[in-house]
C-alpha cells in the first residue's frame, strides 16, 4: 500500500480533516498550525500530481473502489493539475498572511471559526477541480460557496453582511442553474461521470434538452465567474471582506469557476456544440462588455480595494474572451491568464492587506504619499498594476500576447484594437494609484502606521516577485497551459 496512489483523494480529504479539527481545538494557534500543515501538504500533493501528468497521462482514482462510471471518479489531467497548483499555492500563502492580518479585522474568539471556514473553502475548491463526477462538482461548489459567504460576512464593516447576503442570493441562483443543467444531462445520458457523459452525448447532438443543459450551465457558471452583466456581487464582496479573504477569493474563486466552464465545454459537450448554439459570439460580446464597462467603473472608484475588484471583472473578461475565440491560442491565453491573473490579483490584495494593517483603510484619500510612507508596498502595487496592463516583463503581458495572437489568427483586427484599448483603460486606473501614492504628499507626517510583521510581508512580496518571474521565465506557465489545451482539444473525436 503506497500513499502515492491515494494522492488524488488526499488532496481533498486533508483540508476536510483539518476543518473539524480546527473547530474542536478552539485555540487559534493550534487551529492555525493544523490549517498550515494541511495546506502545505495540499501544495505538495498538487505539485506531485502536476509532475505526474505532464507527459500527458491521466490519473484516475475510484472513490470506494466502485469502478467508473458507477462510482465517483477523481480524475487528474493537465488542465486541473494546473488549477490545483494555483489553488493550493494561494491557500498556503494567504494562510500565512492571515495569521496576523485577521488580528485587526476579526474578533479574537472567532479566529478558530475563520480557520474552519477557510479549510472548508479550500476543500470545496480543490474538490471542484479534481472531481470527475458532475454532481460532485455541484456539491463541492456549494461547500466552497457557503464557506465563502461566511468568510465575507466576517468583514469589519456592516456592509460586509449585505455584501455576503447579495453574494449568497446570486451565488445560489448560479449553483441551482448549474444543478439543473446537470440534471438535464443526467436525464439525457443516464450517467453522472463527466467522461462517460461525453461519450453518450455523441449521438445526441443537437437535441433540445442537451442545448438547454448547455444554456443552464453557461448562465450558472457565468454567475460564479462574475461575467458581465452577472458581476454585481463581486465589487461589494471583495471590498468588504477581510483582506486575507479578498486575496484568496480574487485569486481562486472565479478561476475555479472558469475551470468548470472549460471542463463542461471541452470534456463533456465537445466542440461541435458551438455549431448548434451561438455560444462563441455571446461569450465574446459579454467579455468585451465586461472589459470596457468594468474598467470604466474602476477609474471612478475612490476606494482602492473596490477599484481592483472592478479590475477583476475586467480581467475575467479577457479570460472569457479567449474561451469565446476558441482557437488553440485563445484557449492557451485563457488558461495562462487564469494563473497569471490569480497570482497578480492575489498579490494586489495581499499588498492592500498590508495597507489596511498599517493605515486602517484603503480609501484613496488616506493613501496620499504612500510611496514615501510604505515604499515597498507601493512599488509592489505598481509592479502588479503593470501586470494588469500587460507591460512586457510581467506575467500579464504573456497572456495578453497570446490573446492578441489568437485574435490575429482569426483575422479579427477589430478585436486586437479593442484588447489594446482596454489595456489603456487599465493604465488609467493604475495611474490613479500612482498619482495618489507618488505625486501627493501625506496628510500627516506620522501616517506611516504600524510596523508590518514578516509573516504578512513575505507572502505579499513572494507573489509580487512571481508576477515578475512568470513574465520572464514562462516555462512553467506556458508549458502547463499548452498541455492543458492539448488535453482539452486533442481529446475530442
Amino acid at each position: 500500500m503506497s500513499i502515492t496512489q491515494h494522492l488524488p483523494v488526499l488532496q481533498v480529504a486533508l483540508p476536510l480533516l483539518a476543518a473539524p479539527l480546527a473547530l474542536i481545538v478552539r485555540q487559534r494557534r493550534v487551529a492555525f498550525a493544523i490549517l498550515l500543515a494541511a495546506s502545505l501538504a495540499c501544495l505538495a500533493i498538487s505539485l506531485a500530481l502536476w509532475n505526474h501528468v505532464q507527459d500527458g497521462s491521466v490519473i484516475s482514482y475510484a472513490i470506494g473502489s466502485w469502478p467508473p462510471p458507477w462510482g465517483i471518479e477523481y480524475r487528474v489531467d493537465r488542465l486541473n493539475a494546473f488549477v490545483l497548483v494555483l489553488v493550493s499555492g494561494m491557500a498556503s500563502l494567504v494562510l500565512l498572511f492571515s495569521w496576523r492580518s485577521i488580528e485587526a479585522e476579526i474578533a479574537e474568539d472567532r479566529h478558530y471559526l475563520f480557520y474552519t471556514m477557510f479549510a472548508l473553502c479550500l476543500t470545496g475548491l480543490l474538490g471542484i477541480t479534481i472531481t470527475g463526477d458532475a454532481f460532485n462538482v455541484f456539491v463541492f461548489l456549494e461547500v466552497s460557496s457557503l464557506s465563502t459567504y461566511v468568510l465575507i460576512a466576517m468583514g469589519q464593516k456592516r456592509r460586509a453582511l449585505v455584501a455576503a447576503y447579495q453574494y449568497l442570493i446570486m451565488g445560489t441562483i448560479g449553483a441551482t442553474l448549474i444543478v439543473m443543467g446537470i440534471g438535464m444531462l443526467y436525464l439525457m445520458t443516464g450517467t453522472l461521470n463527466l467522461y462517460d457523459m461525453a461519450e453518450r452525448l455523441g449521438p445526441l447532438q443537437g437535441q433540445r434538452p442537451v442545448l438547454a443543459a448547455l444554456a443552464f450551465i453557461t448562465v450558472g457558471v457565468s454567475l460564479k465567474v462574475a461575467l458581465f452583466p452577472l458581476h454585481q456581487w463581486l465589487p461589494n464582496a471583495y471590498t468588504y471582506a477581510p483582506s486575507a479573504v479578498s486575496a484568496f477569493l480574487a485569486a481562486t474563486a472565479t478561476k475555479v469557476a472558469i475551470y468548470v466552464l472549460l471542463r463542461f465545454y471541452f470534456s463533456v459537450f465537445g466542440q461541435t456544440i458551438f455549431l448548434d448554439l451561438p455560444v462563441r459570439p455571446l461569450l465574446i460580446a459579454l467579455a468585451l462588455a465586461g472589459m470596457f464597462v468594468a474598467s470604466f467603473l474602476a477609474i471612478y472608484q475612490l476606494d482602492l480595494k473596490r477599484l481592483f475588484a472592478f479590475s477583476s471583472v475586467a480581467q475575467v473578461g479577457y479570460i472569457v474572451l479567449g474561451i469565446g475565440m476558441g482557437n488553440a491560442a485563445g484557449l492557451t491565453s485563457s488558461v495562462l491568464h487564469l494563473f497569471n491573473h490569480g497570482i497578480t490579483k492575489g498579490a494586489i490584495f495581499l499588498l492592500l492587506g498590508l495597507v489596511v494593517f498599517a493605515l486602517g483603510g484603503t480609501q484613496l484619500s488616506r493613501l496620499k504619499g504612500l510611496g514615501k510612507t510604505m515604499p515597498i508596498t507601493s512599488i509592489g502595487l505598481v509592479i502588479c498594476g503593470l501586470s494588469l496592463i500587460g507591460i512586457p516583463g510581467t506575467s500579464g503581458f504573456i497572456s495578453k500576447w497570446y490573446l492578441i495572437m489568437a485574435a490575429v489568427e482569426l483575422g479579427h483586427w477589430w478585436l486586437v484594437f479593442l484588447i489594446v484599448s482596454s489595456s489603456l483603460l487599465a493604465t488609467a486606473y493604475v495611474w490613479k494609484f500612482v498619482d495618489v501614492a507618488y505625486f501627493q504628499s501625506p496628510e500627516t507626517p506620522a501616517a506611516a502606521g504600524r510596523a508590518l510583521p514578516l509573516t504578512m510581508v513575505l507572502p505579499a512580496l513572494l507573489l509580487t516577485a512571481s508576477t515578475l518571474y512568470f513574465g520572464i521565465d514562462t516555462r512553467f506557465t506556458i508549458g502547463s497551459a499548452t498541455g492543458a489545451v492539448a488535453s482539452m482539444i486533442g481529446a475530442q473525436p
Partner: protein, 141 residues
C-alpha cells in the same frame, strides 16, 4: 410556555418517543425511507421541542453549546475516518469492500458508520442553529 400544564405534560410524553423515532429512522435507512439526514433532523426537533416548552436554559444544562459544536465536528471526523480506514485497510477512500472479509457485510458496516456520522453532524448543526437564533433576545424598536 412553562406554566401551561397541557403543553408540559404532552411534551414530556412525546419527547422520548420523538428521540426514539429518530433512532428508528436512522437504522432503518437501509430498508425504508430514512438515514442519517432525516434522523439527525428528527432528533434535533425533539430537543428543540424541549427548549421551546421548558426554556433554552434548561436544555443547555444537559446539552451545552460546546458539546453541540463538538458533536458537529465529530460527525465529520467519523465520516472522514471511515474513508481513511478504507485506505488503511488496503482499498481506496471510502472503500467499504475491505471493511470485512465478506464484501456485503463490509458495505453494511461502512454505510452504518457513515450514516451515524451524518446524523451526528446534522443534529449538531440543527441544534447549533436553534441555539444561536433563540439566544438572541427580541430587538428593541
Amino acid at each position: 410556555m412553562r406554566n401551561d400544564l397541557i403543553l408540559r405534560v404532552v411534551a414530556k410524553l412525546l419527547i422520548p418517543f420523538i428521540l426514539l423515532f429518530a433512532v428508528y429512522v436512522q437504522f432503518h435507512g437501509d430498508f425504508g425511507p430514512g438515514g442519517g439526514f432525516q434522523a439527525g433532523v428528527i432528533f434535533a426537533a425533539g430537543i428543540v421541542l424541549h427548549a421551546l416548552i421548558f426554556g433554552l436554559d434548561r436544555t443547555k444544562t444537559f446539552l451545552p453549546e460546546p458539546w453541540v459544536e463538538s458533536i458537529m465536528a465529530l460527525g465529520v471526523l467519523l465520516y472522514v475516518g471511515v474513508g481513511l480506514a478504507g485506505i488503511i485497510l488496503g482499498g481506496n477512500f471510502l472503500d467499504f469492500f475491505v471493511l470485512d472479509a465478506d464484501s456485503i457485510t463490509g458495505q453494511h458496516r461502512g454505510i452504518f458508520w457513515i450514516e451515524i456520522g451524518v446524523a451526528l453532524t446534522v443534529a449538531g448543526v440543527m441544534l447549533k442553529i436553534f441555539y444561536m437564533f433563540a439566544a438572541r433576545g427580541p430587538i428593541d424598536e
